[in-house]
């Protein structure tokens, strides 16, 4: 049998030892009516060569963004990943291990998570971070739920400029009745503090915003934070960590909880998953933090060592009174992020951010200058921006795809209210030549 070392003789030995005459004896506890009295209707197993052939065939029936000149972002970004990252991810000591419940033989995973938590704190300006969550969207929702626990209020106000998928996830979790959600309308591509203020009151647990927002614009975090705090609500900010070397951390503007999608830090796009949710907050809220946390302590010989800690918040101890049902993290993506951040360092991370922003602005100006795209909003943006296309978006994207370009994200497909708009993103991987050629191709359509 594949992946089982037991031979026929071994099986006979084992059956004899348990006093069974056949394998079926062992399944006698399954009542006859619920036994599957037939083989599974699945193809026969095949050898590795055929597995590879089938999967290569499927992979060959895609045209991945990485094989194109891609300007797609919208929450998932094609940054360069240094080679060392994947070589470390392929270490079986990391990827075949379980959650580090036995710290004496899990110091590798635990120390990495401690270092990851430290790096996330450095990027966000927060005091503490957890070991990571499923993705940015679920970290965002957990922030709303944590704010409700902290404030003992159950209403949250979310900026309409937050990623539409994240807002749907928030609504889905809220369908449990745990919280109610109101959405603040978008004004000129950003959240207007005045309209926000009219929605926030003594019942508001949190104000949740992303900056840059889904449309690429930088929000006025100071003003939004003031509105939240004036009502005694927590201020939750989501950030793109690839820009954390360039933009002020939300702590500067009084954020209480900072979350985000960590995919840009060393994880492949992989059709949108697995990503990396990160979650950081002020010290005061530590006991309400969802998910795993690693701390440093001493072993019996007095040596520094790492361990999962504050576990009385968690489901395996507290059961129905846990801060969340989450019992895993995305440890391998957190490892990718830590190795990535070690490789690029603060200077490299700032270069990645500056380069991505500079290229996006160059593309923006060239597209507007072509006369085929119109600027919609004047708000400042970072490495992503939306423009209105004067023709048919789908036709334009199809034509450019044939020429090897992924011409941004058609916002009409994401949110019908944004029909006619295209969201473009640049990373440091794009070159001036690629951008110039792209604009020439657009003009030649």
């Amino acid at each position: 049998m594949r992946f089982s070392p037991a031979s026929c003789d071994d099986r006979a030995t084992m059956l004899a030892a348990v006093g069974a005459s056949s394998i079926d004896d062992l399944f006698a506890a399954i009542p006859e009516p619920v036994r599957l009295g037939r083989p599974l209707d699945l193809p026969d197993g095949v050898g590795e060569l055929e597995v590879v052939r089938t999967l290569r065939g499927l992979a060959g029936r895609t045209t991945p963004a990485t094989s194109l000149v891609s300007f797609a972002g919208a929450g998932c970004y094609d940054h360069y990943v240094p080679s060392i990252v994947d070589h470390i991810l392929r270490r079986p000591e990391f990827f075949t291990a379980y959650t580090p419940y036995q710290p004496e033989v899990s110091q590798g995973t635990l120390q990495n998570i401690y270092e990851f938590q430290s790096m996330i704190c450095e990027l966000t300006g927060m005091d503490v971070a957890n070991a990571s969550m499923y993705d940015g969207a679920t970290a965002f929702v957990e922030a709303a739920l944590m704010a409700a626990r902290v404030t003992k209020r159950s209403h949250v106000v979310v900026a309409g400029s937050v990623h539409p998928e994240w807002r749907v996830v928030l609504d889905t979790y809220a369908s449990s009745g745990a919280i109610t959600v109101a959405t603040c309308p978008v004004t000129d591509g950003v959240t207007a503090a005045a309209s926000l203020a009219s929605m926030v009151d003594a019942q508001t647990a949190a104000v949740l915003v992303a900056s840059p927002n889904f449309l690429g614009h930088i929000e006025d975090l100071a003003a939004i934070g003031d509105v939240a705090h004036a009502a005694g609500a927590l201020f939750v900010a989501a950030v793109n960590p690839a820009l954390s070397g360039v933009l002020e951390p939300p702590s500067v503007f009084g954020a209480d909880i900072v979350v985000g999608e960590g995919q840009p830090l060393g994880s492949s796009m992989s059709f949108g998953g697995p990503g990396l949710g990160f979650f950081a907050c002020k010290d005061a809220y530590l006991r309400q933090l969802p998910g795993r946390v690693v701390g440093r302590t001493l072993d019996v010989d007095g040596r520094g060592a790492f361990v999962l800690t504050m576990q009385t918040r968690e489901q395996h101890i507290r059961r129905e009174r846990a801060t969340s049902n989450i019992c895993s993290n995305h440890a391998l993506n957190a490892l990718a992020a830590a190795v990535y951040l070690s490789a690029v360092g603060a200077e490299g991370l700032a270069e990645v951010g500056r380069s991505s922003i500079a290229k996006a602005h160059y593309l923006h100006d060239a597209l507007v200058a072509s006369g085929l795209f119109e600027e919609v909003w004047k708000a400042p943006y970072a490495h992503e921006f939306a423009l209105r296309y004067t023709g048919d978006v789908q036709d334009m994207q199809d034509a450019l795809l044939e020429r090897g370009y992924l011409a941004g994200v058609d916002l009409g497909l994401v949110d019908p209210g944004l029909d006619g708009l295209v969201l473009f993103a640049c990373t440091e991987k794009r070159t001036r030549d690629e951008i110039d050629s792209f604009v020439r191709e657009v003009v030649s359509l």
Binding site: R2, E104, Q117, L298, E320, S328, A358
Partner: protein, 499 residues
């Protein structure tokens, strides 16, 4: 064997703790450089007055220092490749290497979630094929691949149940769970806005039917059950249980943590369950990754299909693939379509094993568990002495009472013998529980070595209890002061002042 395991290792010295990556390298060290900027620089003034004024304190290291740091960390970890890992309920089976290659094929790893579906047909086909395979294995026809983990699958299913009841104009309040359930079950129930009702297990380790009957009424939204349960026992009353649940209009949820016992032998759909989550990182051998990412697809009945989160990948009449939203979808439980890279690995596993191979894997997993159980039940009490499925639970209660040795001590001593310990202190209904799941990928020789070690440790507990109280001795670090970690939280490194 105990004579071979000394307090101080003689060969293969283990490596002790390492300094933090922040304390490695030197201020000028770098390992990454971008090409010169080939477009005009954008000044800080374009950033709405939010240009960062003080840099984050990240490591200053060269590539070789990174390689050595993480190599050292890796050597302090125990993975499935390091040796037997009989961690009950976690299904620590071998992770085929080809799966790691498959998910990194550029045609998968390089896909952007918003690229046109015409350019992602192979990925959608893979998801549809995997969903079809999971539907066949589970006996439940509709599948969402979106949930990122088992607990996330539970949440998805219960929100789907809630939507079903609400659609029937039926606001229900409670969810019933046996006392042997994983902690994620009650935690999920709370997150979904229901109250938890816990019922006891019967003397055979199954659901107490009288207690279940008493707990069920028309305010109950669902009953959640792990079957085989966390004692590794298949509930013989399962058909009657799901019937009773349905009789009050409630839905039956199967926690699929233990699917590795029953693939091709019995299907939760045929048992009367309405929904099931499958931990792909357990049963389908995508790795655990040190805690994740995994994936927790949810399979449901046709009646619940229209409430699943969207979008769902589908095969169209013309043979092409697309995404659709279920008619009354609960929404989304995360971004994009799921942990796609994990789904690729799981599909590679399905291809390699096929229908017969999946059944054979379950059969071998059950045989291995029963073999170990027979070898160990003389040395450790077995509270529920029945034929088990893929795992079984011993009790360390006798060692504690007679020799003051706790299950924790046994677990720590196993580390000195080169094994990862079983799951301990779970399920909570067994005193000093030791939950052992060998999986099908341990051979007879390793099963025997593990059994020998456990028996030797039971003997040590009698002859030299303090040896166990002090274990482990040979690991990179020894027992940790967990109370100190809680009392004096040190959850992050901080740069020295002025750095």
């Amino acid at each position: 064997m105990s004579a071979d395991v000394t307090k101080t290792p003689s060969s293969a010295p283990t490596r002790g703790p390492r300094e933090l990556i922040f304390e490695t390298g030197s201020p000028a060290a770098r390992c990454f450089e971008l090409p010169p900027l080939d477009v005009p620089e954008v000044g800080a003034e374009a950033l709405a007055g939010q240009a960062r004024t003080s840099a984050p304190a990240l490591p200053h290291v060269t590539e070789v220092e990174i390689a050595r740091h993480y190599h050292h960390l890796a050597t302090m970890n125990f993975g499935v490749d390091s040796g037997p890992y009989p961690l009950g309920s976690c299904t620590m089976k071998y992770n085929p290497r080809v799966n790691e290659d498959a998910c990194r094929l550029e045609g998968f790893a390089g896909l952007h979630p918003y690229q046109p579906l015409s350019t992602a047909q192979g990925a959608l086909e893979l998801m549809v094929s995997l969903a079809d395979a999971l539907a066949e294995v589970s006996g439940l026809p509709a599948v969402t691949l979106q949930p990122a983990a088992g607990a996330h699958g539970e949440l998805t299913a219960l929100l789907t149940f809630r939507a079903y009841h609400v659609a029937n104009g039926d606001a229900r309040k409670r969810v019933v769970i046996p006392d042997s359930a994983h902690g994620t079950n009650p935690a999920t129930v709370s997150m979904c806005g229901y109250d938890v009702v816990t019922i006891p297990s019967n003397e055979r380790g199954g659901v107490d039917m009288d207690a279940l009957r008493a707990a069920l009424d028309t305010d109950v939204a669902a009953f959640m059950l792990t079957n085989p349960n966390t004692l590794g026992l298949f509930d013989e009353n399962i058909a009657e249980i799901t019937e009773m649940v349905h009789a009050v209009g409630a839905l039956a949820y199967c926690d699929g943590a233990n699917m590795n016992a029953i693939m091709g032998k019995a299907r939760p759909g045929d048992m009367g369950f309405d929904a099931l989550h499958i931990n792909l990182h357990k049963t389908f051998s995508t790795p655990h990754g040190g805690g994740g990412p995994g994936a927790g697809p949810v399979c449901v009945t046709g009646a619940l299909a229209k409430f699943l989160p969207g979008p769902l990948p589908v095969r169209l009449g013309d043979g092409s693939f697309s995404l659709v939203w279920p008619e009354r979808s609960i929404g989304r439980v995360r971004s994009s379509f799921g942990n796609f890279g994990v789904l690729v690995r799981a599909y590679a596993y399905v291809l390699a094993l096929g229908g017969d191979g999946l059944r054979a894997a379950s059969e071998q997993a059950v045989l291995s568990a029963n073999y170990l159980k027979e070898r160990l039940k003389g040395a450790y009490p077995l509270p529920y002495d029945r034929t088990c499925m893929h795992e079984f639970v011993l009790s360390g209660g006798k060692l504690r009472k007679e020799h003051g040795v706790h299950t924790l001590d046994v677990a720590k001593r196993l580390l000195d013998y080169g094994f990862h310990p079983p799951t301990i202190y779970f399920p909570q209904i067994v005193d000093e529980a030791i939950m052992i799941e060998p999986t099908e990928t341990e051979g007879l020789a390793d099963l025997d070595r593990f059994a020998d070690a456990m028996i030797a440790i039971a003997a040590e507990a009698v002859s030299d209890p303090d040896l166990l109280h002090g274990a482990p001795y040979t690991t990179p670090v020894r027992r940790l002061d967990e109370a100190r970690a809680v009392k004096q939280p040190d959850l992050r490194w901080r740069p020295a002042a002025g750095e």
